[in-house]
């Protein structure tokens, strides 16, 4: 997703500057040919761009860590990438609890360091962001934290300790073990419980980590946006009374009306008031998180709803609400459903299925949102990376790939906007359904059926009476004439 925040953002700058340079030319042409000329220029510019791209790729040694880039964009981070920079990050607070239960809070800027290395062949400087040890002194003790790279806790903050002789012995034994089993020398061995850093192994402890990471910060931004939207509308009402809002707020109000009247009210009926706040909050929170995730630069770009932790919490909330407010009849339907006896006794087949269903429903909610959003992000970033993957095949191939992949990327992003709405809506709709299924009372269940019949009957009668009256009135009129 984070197209412009990627490592190759300089390519896009090239495209933009070249475009702005050539963009004046079409003005000379007549109006009729202008559009075609612009299109042609765009393609020409795009075809020129790859040479810059392959040059940029060459700077970093030619090899491209595609998997690393994709996972960096899909995953979380302790800092927030700045557009058009490889090494700058917006620092965010790291909050961790050390092994001896002390809380630490420091800036994530202290965990990384910009390095400059000069390539002896080309003489170009190469910038990189390297992890460094953050050392904190407290009460005469020294605490050291590090973003682990060669460790089981990759890209997470760990507390590191020097090895004791006993640990050193154990580590040596395990390293020897690994060497025996491994066929190829993979370089640094990742040993559970140890982290390799700067030529040395340390014992690592993964602290309780409540850091405000990129995703957490994006979460707060989404919360603020939702609150701003809602209270913007509330403020509008306070100022303008009952007048209808226009433009953005009107759209927001329309969405509220759509979700509240057509989805929640239509499904939950007289229990709407009880559950509507939760469902509305869920819809707008997911929608805002989805849309903000699609924005490429700073306030957006975090793959929030494509993170299973976020969708898990949302699904868990629906699960809790469904089951806490579930009626007696709901539980009866689970443990003693209306099916032939042999299906529920002596072997509790139906009960097993029903109990399983309690958990699969929210799990499906969780995975659906997560997979859809992550998939969208992954396709976009992969399409973009395609340009650089094919960088080795010369300018012509890459030029074509660039055109195709940029067009596809735009298409996918637009599609993702649609998916953002659909997934937010589906999550809300299914939550509403699950909650409403747990809200049926037995009497109500039967009463509804009875009422339906009698209502239909009385409706028929009323219609008949009305018809009779109409006919008699017509007859009277005829008589009068």
């Amino acid at each position: 997703m984070c197209l412009l925040t990627g490592c190759r953002s300089d390519t896009y700058i090239n495209i933009l500057t070249t475009m702005s340079k050539y963009h004046k030319i079409p003005l000379i042409h007549s109006l009729a040919t202008t559009r075609r000329a612009v299109l042609g220029l765009l393609i020409a510019v795009l075809l020129m761009a790859p040479s810059a791209a392959s040059a940029a790729g060459h700077d970093e040694g030619g090899s491209l860590d595609v998997k690393g880039i994709i996972f960096e964009h899909l995953g979380d981070g302790y800092g927030w990438e700045v557009p058009f920079s490889h090494t700058d990050r917006i620092p965010l607070p790291v909050i961790v609890r050390s092994e001896d239960h002390n809380w630490f809070c420091f800036s994530s800027a202290g965990l990384t360091e910009k390095t400059e290395t000069v390539d002896p062949e080309s003489g170009k400087t190469h910038h990189a962001l390297e992890p460094v040890v953050k050392t904190i002194e407290r009460d005469g003790k020294t605490y050291r934290f590090l973003i682990a790279h060669e460790s089981a806790n990759k890209d997470k903050v760990v507390e590191i300790f020097d090895l004791t002789p006993a640990e050193q012995k154990e580590l040596d034994a395990r390293l020897a073990d690994e060497k025996k089993t491994g066929d190829v020398d993979l370089g640094v061995q990742v040993i559970d419980g140890y982290v390799y850093y700067d030529g040395k192994y340390y014992r690592e402890y993964r602290p309780l980590d409540l850091s405000v990471t990129k995703n957490v910060a994006a979460l707060f931004i989404a919360v603020i946006l939702v609150i701003a939207m809602v209270f913007g509308l509330v403020g509008f009402y306070r100022r303008k009374g009952m007048r209808a809002p226009r433009k953005g707020m009107g759209f927001f109000e329309m969405l509220v009306g759509f979700i509240y009247n057509d989805t929640i009210k239509a499904t939950l009926g007289d229990k709407t008031k009880k559950f509507a706040p939760y469902l509305l909050t869920v819809f707008f929170f997911i929608l805002v998180m989805n849309i903000v995730g699609l924005i490429v630069i700073f306030p957006g770009g975090a793959n929030l709803t494509g993170n299973i932790a976020v969708t898990l919490v949302l699904a868990l909330c629906t699960f809790i609400i469904t089951n806490i407010f579930g009626t007696k009849h709901y539980w009866k339907e689970i443990f003693w459903p209306d099916v032939p006896l042999f299906l529920k006794f002596p072997l509790p087949i139906m009960q097993l299925i029903e109990v399983f269903g309690i958990f699969t429903k929210p799990a499906a909610l969780c995975v659906r949102l997560f997979a859809n959003m992550m998939g969208g992000h992954m396709i976009v970033i992969t399409l973009t990376l395609l340009i650089f993957i094919l960088g080795a095949f010369g300018a012509a191939v890459v030029g074509l790939t660039t055109v195709v992949s940029v067009l596809f990327t735009i298409f996918m992003l637009l599609l993702d906007v649609l998916v953002s709405f659909i997934q937010a809506y589906v999550f809300t709709l299914l939550s509403t359904l699950f909650i409403s299924m747990a809200q049926i009372d037995e009497e109500e269940h039967h009463a509804k059926e009875d009422k339906g019949d009698s209502a239909a009957e009385s409706k028929d009668l009323a219609e008949l009476a009305a018809q009779k009256e109409l006919i008699s009135r017509e007859a009277a009129e005829m008589d009068l004439k």
Partner: protein
């Protein structure tokens, strides 16, 4: 796979953030918005209903006004007709009265003339009678100046009485 293992820190913050968001919005956000939207919908419904009623009333009022106008026009025409009739009546009456008065006057005049004529006739007759008696007296005196004529007359008168 690190992608499929939820990170405890993120779960924790997500839980905190979501619960906070939910509490804040459930208390001060959604109820206000939903109430206002319902209220507005009701107001709009009410407005539509009111407008319909107002239009109905307006139509009724217009019909009523038309009715009154027509009525007034009818009454005006009636009054005009009545006035015209009254006018002709009055003129007729006046004329009749005048005629009657004139006739009376004439009758009276005629009567007076008649009376005068009768009186004149009477006095004329009296006059004529007196004249004739005078003449007859004079003639008698002349004729009865001798005795013979007197006896002749007496005889004649006696004859006449005897004959009767």
């Amino acid at each position: 796979m690190e992608l499929f293992t939820p990170d405890f820190g993120l779960v924790f913050w997500m839980f905190v953030a979501f619960i906070l968001l939910f509490l804040v919005l459930a208390k001060w956000g959604w109820p206000v918005i939903i109430k206002m939207m319902d209220q507005r919908a009701n107001t709009i419904d009410q407005g539509v209903e009111d407008a319909r009623k107002a239009k109905e009333q307006l139509d009724n009022a217009r019909a009523e006004a038309q009715k009154y106008v027509k009525e007034a026009q009818a009454r005006q025409a009636e009054m005009l007709r009545e006035a015209a009739k009254m006018k002709t009546d009055i003129i007729e009456e006046a004329r009749n009265e005048a005629q009657a008065a004139a006739k009376k006057e004439m009758d009276a005049a005629r009567l007076a003339i008649e009376q005068a004529r009768k009186e004149a006739e009477l006095s004329f007759r009296n006059e004529v009678g007196r004249f004739s008696i005078d003449i007859a007296e004079k003639m008698m005196r002349e004729r009865m100046s001798d005795n013979k004529a007197q006896t002749e007359l007496v005889n004649k008168l006696l004859d006449e009485i005897e004959k009767n």
